[in-house]
Amino acid sequence: MRQAFSKGFIYILLTIGSLLMLLPFIWMISTSLKTPGEVMSMPPTWIPESWKWDNYLKAWEMAPFLRYTLNSIIVVIVSTIGEIITTILAAYAFSRLQFWGRDIVFAILLGTMMVPGEMLLIPNFVTLSNLGWINQYEALIIPWLASIFSIFLLRQYFLGVPKELHYAAKIDGCSNFRFLWSVMVPLAKPAIVTIALLKAIGSWNAFLWPLIVTQSEEMRTLPVGLTAFTTEAGTNFELLMAASSMIILPMIILYIILQKYIIEGVSKAGLKG
């Protein structure tokens, strides 16, 4: 009896919490289907009077979204794969290899997490233009090919792998590199998937950087497309919401597909100081 009661209580709490979490999204979708007048109407309506599905079409046509989508996909895929590679190599070095200056280098990199990214915008822009990468995929991708946070996370995970495994592999005739790829990487799959997902989300939603380093429509990514709905004198809310709904959907799907790995990935990272 008591058991059933407390279970019920948990469900009620979680459901209320979920509703609070979902509310903004429900509103977003609801708004995306309204007419401009109904968007402004008060009191607000939850269910649109007439379902303006063509808002989605209109929003899609406001900017070259097809191209943006393609760019976003390219940038997300390449930078995620790239970051995973650099992260795996670096995390391995920081967790399994002995070398001079290892701890100090790691600490310096950790220290960079404490500086706000806004400071880095212009110096990095200058670096990229010196390299001649402005308005190229290089500019959208290369600066984001490594993340100290990901390295930290994966390093923690690697530290949790018994070092005998490394010894065993060495004796089995496995080189460092081979061991990393054929043992550590498969073992760390949950952590790597987690890092990849976090990266993909970040990369997919990035706004200011893609805007700054690109000069042409052909190179722009999806979030930049959201600016098409706002000007100095007003915002097309219904179209903005339609576009936003379209933009967040792929990441939600990706998360749902990958979520079974995520908790494991984070939990094995050990999170020990």
Binding site: T31, W100, T112, P116, I122, F207, I263, L271
Partner: protein, 296 residues
């Protein structure tokens, strides 16, 4: 047991590190060092990159600037408002989700949604939620007899509004971290405690809390650092302004404004330097406290 690394080990080590080191070196470490420098440029032509004189002028300026103090205060209010609340709420939800329930995955997905979403898109929805006359928040508060609050118009309420939105947005990620931590706790401890006659709450307090302390510690460091660096949420929630009467101006907003709107590069760098020191000190304090309080 560590052997002393040889030159060869060192070469191997750095060869693994090289790709990450190049990227982070060029795009993180170098610009940071460069900006730290800029904070000592008293007279500087940013575009031609000519330093006419060095000095502490920028630091003197910010420490005499009431706006800077205000943004410091706001940042601290934000940190105090977000960090404990976000951590405790997500801990509770994680524990609820961890008790064997149906639809666990569905709930988890829902709580994670805000994290997946871009701040810019969702902040517009929040503006509507906070609307004083027609917003859903004041509507709910009305049930409890609370008269409408001018969340976004009243300088007194802009920080709470910002804090609530940021807690909402950060929950999902923290919940995931906590869920992961909870799964690392051996269920035998709970059985043992149950046999010892510990109530549900006591089990939570005497087993979950201490055994989860490493996770809590990690989460709190991440949340703390990110809270000190809050910017996007401020920018998006108040339409590119830091709230009515600059009431929600945080340090990073201050830095941003000095850098991008006022072209005061040295001052912006000096403020960034101060922020770095503050975060650094807090992280050290946390590490120190963590060392004593984290149970294993």
């Amino acid at each position: 047991m560590n052997q002393k690394p040889t030159l060869k080990d060192t070469l191997i080590g750095y060869s693994y590190l090289l790709p990450a080191l190049i990227i982070l070196g060029v795009f993180s470490v170098y610009p940071i060092i460069k900006s730290f420098f800029m904070s000592f440029y008293a007279d500087y032509d940013f575009f031609k990159d000519i330093v006419h004189s060095y000095g502490f002028d920028n630091f003197i300026y910010i420490f005499q600037d009431t706006e800077f103090y205000k943004s410091l205060t706001n940042t601290f209010i934000f940190v105090i408002g977000v960090v404990p609340a976000s951590i405790s709420i997500s801990l509770v939800i994680a524990i609820l989700l961890n008790s064997k329930i149906k639809f666990g995955k569905l709930f988890r997905t829902i709580y994670f949604l805000p994290f997946v979403t871009s701040v810019v898109a969702i902040a517009i929805v929040w503006q509507w939620i906070y609307h004083s006359e027609y917003g859903i928040l004041n509507y709910f508060l009305g049930w409890f007899g609370i008269s409408p609050i001018e969340w976004l118009n009243d300088p007194k309420w802009s920080m709470p509004a910002l804090i609530i939105m940021c807690i909402w947005k950060s929950l999902g990620y923290n919940i995931i971290l906590f869920l992961a931590g909870l799964q690392n706790i051996n269920p035998q401890y709970y059985l043992a405690a149950q046999i010892d006659g510990a109530s549900k709450f006591k089990r939570f307090w005497h087993i979950t809390v201490p055994l989860l302390s490493p996770t809590t510690f990690f989460v709190s460091i991440v949340v703390l650092i990110n809270s000190f660096k809050v910017f996007d949420e401020v920018f998006a929630l108040f339409n590119g302004r830091p709230g009515p009467g600059y009431s929600a101006q945080t340090i990073v907003y201050y830095i941003f404004e000095k850098f991008y709107n006022e072209w005061e590069f040295g001052i912006a760098s000096a403020a960034a330097f101060v922020l770095f020191i503050i975060i650094f000190i807090f992280t050290l304090i946390q590490l120190y406290v963590g060392k004593r309080k984290v149970n294993y």
